[in-house]
Subunit: 327 residues, 2 copies
Amino acid sequence: MPGLSEFELIETLLKPLAVNAPGAFALADDAAIMPEPLEGHVLVITKDALAVGSHMLFDDPPGDMARKALRVNLSDLASMGASPVGFFMALCIGRDTKDRFLKEFISGLAEDVERFSIPLMGGDIIRQDGPFIVTITAVGSVKREDVLRRSHAEPGDSLWVSGTVGDGALGLLSARGQLGTLSARSQAFLSNRYRVPQPRVETGLFLAGLVSACTDVSDGLLADVDHICKASGVGCRIEQDAIPLSPAAKEVVQSNKGLWQTILTGGDDYELAFAVPAARGAAITDLMRTGPIQLTRIGIFEPGSGTTLVHADGVGVHWEQLGFQHE
Amino acid sequence: MPGLSEFELIETLLKPLAVNAPGAFALADDAAIMPEPLEGHVLVITKDALAVGSHMLFDDPPGDMARKALRVNLSDLASMGASPVGFFMALCIGRDTKDRFLKEFISGLAEDVERFSIPLMGGDIIRQDGPFIVTITAVGSVKREDVLRRSHAEPGDSLWVSGTVGDGALGLLSARGQLGTLSARSQAFLSNRYRVPQPRVETGLFLAGLVSACTDVSDGLLADVDHICKASGVGCRIEQDAIPLSPAAKEVVQSNKGLWQTILTGGDDYELAFAVPAARGAAITDLMRTGPIQLTRIGIFEPGSGTTLVHADGVGVHWEQLGFQHE
C-alpha cells in the first residue's frame, strides 16, 4: 500500500489541475457542475480505459501514460469536431503501484491539462489487486449543426487523413524491441508516437461543419474507414501508394514489406480520417497549406460497401504481399 | 480470455441499454452528444470506480455488482438534487472474468437502466490482468439555482438524514460472516443493503432548492457530515440517540455496543444527509409524512467547526463506549 493517502493525492497533487473549472468545486463536492454550453452548442462526452500491460508498457514513463490516457480521449473529441471542456478520471491504483509512479503520472497529466486547456473536474481513486488502470471521461463542446459524425459520407466524397499512418502500431513493435535493424533515430520517433499520441484537436475544430464524416484512427486505418463506410452505407477505395508514411515508417517497409499489414490494421495512430464533399475541396486544400498538420487525400467513397485497397492505376493490391494471411 | 468478443458484448448485450438515448448513436460513434439541458438547467457529472475484492465481494451476484456500480453514482446525482440523464461505463474485464459473469452483470445493469430511466450512452471495454473493475460516469440535470452543494449550511440549520444509517457497513460484516449470532433475517437484510444500495433520487429531487446543504452518506455519517461542516465553515452537534437504525442494526448494537463505531464511520449507506434552515422545516415535515422514505432530524449546525456526538440531554458521548479507540 503506497504511503500517499487518497487525501494527499487529491489535496496536493490533483486539486491544482482543477483550478480553472469553477464547477469542479476544488474536487470537494459529490459531483461537478458543467459550464452552460455556448448558444447553439452541445456537450459531447467520451470515455476510454487504459491498463498497464495492455495499453501501456510496464516500463513506459508514467508521465507519458497519463498523457496518452488523456490524449486518446481528446482524439475522440477531435473526431467529433469538439473543443475540450473538462475531464473526469478514475485512478485504479494497483498492487505494485508506487508513490513515485503516481507523482510522475500526475505531473505528466498536469502538463497536458495546461497544454490542452482541459481542467480535471472530478473522479475517483480506488486501490485494487491488479495492474494500474486509468479511465478518463472527457467532455467537449461543439456547435450543434457542426458535430462530426461517422454516418454522413456520400459516394464521390474523397477520403483524407491527417498526419502519417502506421507510426503508432510500428512504435509498439519498436518499444518491444521487435524492429531491431531500424536506425536508432527512427526507433525513437516511432516509440514516441506510440507512447504520446498527438490528438488533432485544432484540425478537428477546423473540420467541424465542413466535412461529411470523420473518425479517429485508433483501431487501424482499414477498420476505422470501414466504420465510416458502415455508418454511412457506402464503400471506399483507398489508394495504397497515397497513404502518408513517416520517414521512419518508410524505412520499415523498405526492409519488410509485410509490415504494411501493421500499418493498415495496427491502430493507435490518433490521426483523423474524414470524408470531403467535392464542394469543400478548396477549403481543405487551404487548410492543407496553412494548417498545423499535413493532410493527405488517400481515397474516394463510392456506392456499395466495404473498403478496397488499390494502386495508383486502380489495380487491386495483392493483400498477401502486404503481410496479410490468405484466408 | 472469454469467448464473448467486444463486438458481441456491444452489439448483443450493451446496445439495448442505449436505445433511449438518441445522442448515443447506438454506441457506434466516437463520442455521444448530450441532450440540451432544459431552460435554466445545468448538467452535473460524477464518476466512481469499483473493483471486485475491494468494493464488491468475489461471490456477490454479478447483477448486484452492476446495480451497485450504477447506484453509487445515482446517489451522487441525488445528493446534488439532479435527475438522471445518462451514463458512460468502462468495463475492465479481468484475468478470471467469465462470460457468464459478464452476461449476469449486464443483465442486472439492464434492470436498473429501466428502473431509473438512465440510458447507457458510451464507454469502453478493455481486458487486463487483474480483478474485474467497472467505472461509471453518470450525468444528471438540475435547475441551476436549485443545485445542492455541501457548502451552504448555516448555524441554526438542523441536520437530517434519510432512511437508516449503518446498514451498509454492518452488511459488509454480515456478508463476510462476521455477525454470526445475528438472526438470519437480519443478516439477509443487512447484506442486501451492502450489495444493492437504494439511491435517494426522488428525495434528492424534492430537496433541490429547499435545503441549504446536502451530501450522500458514502464515507460514513460522521465523515460525511464533517464534509458539510468543512465546506460550510460550521460545526455540528449530532444526537446519537436520534440516529435512525434499522431493526437489524438495533439488534446488532443491542448485543455489541462497540459496533456503533461501524455504524457511525463505516459508510456505504447511500442515504442523504442534509441541512434544513428553520424556515423550511414545515416543508421537510410534510415530505417526512408523505415522501417515499423516512426522514429524521438528528442534529443541529452551530458556529465553530467539527462534529460533536451528544446524548439527548446534551451531554457528550463517551466515544470509547462506541468502539472507538482512545487516541
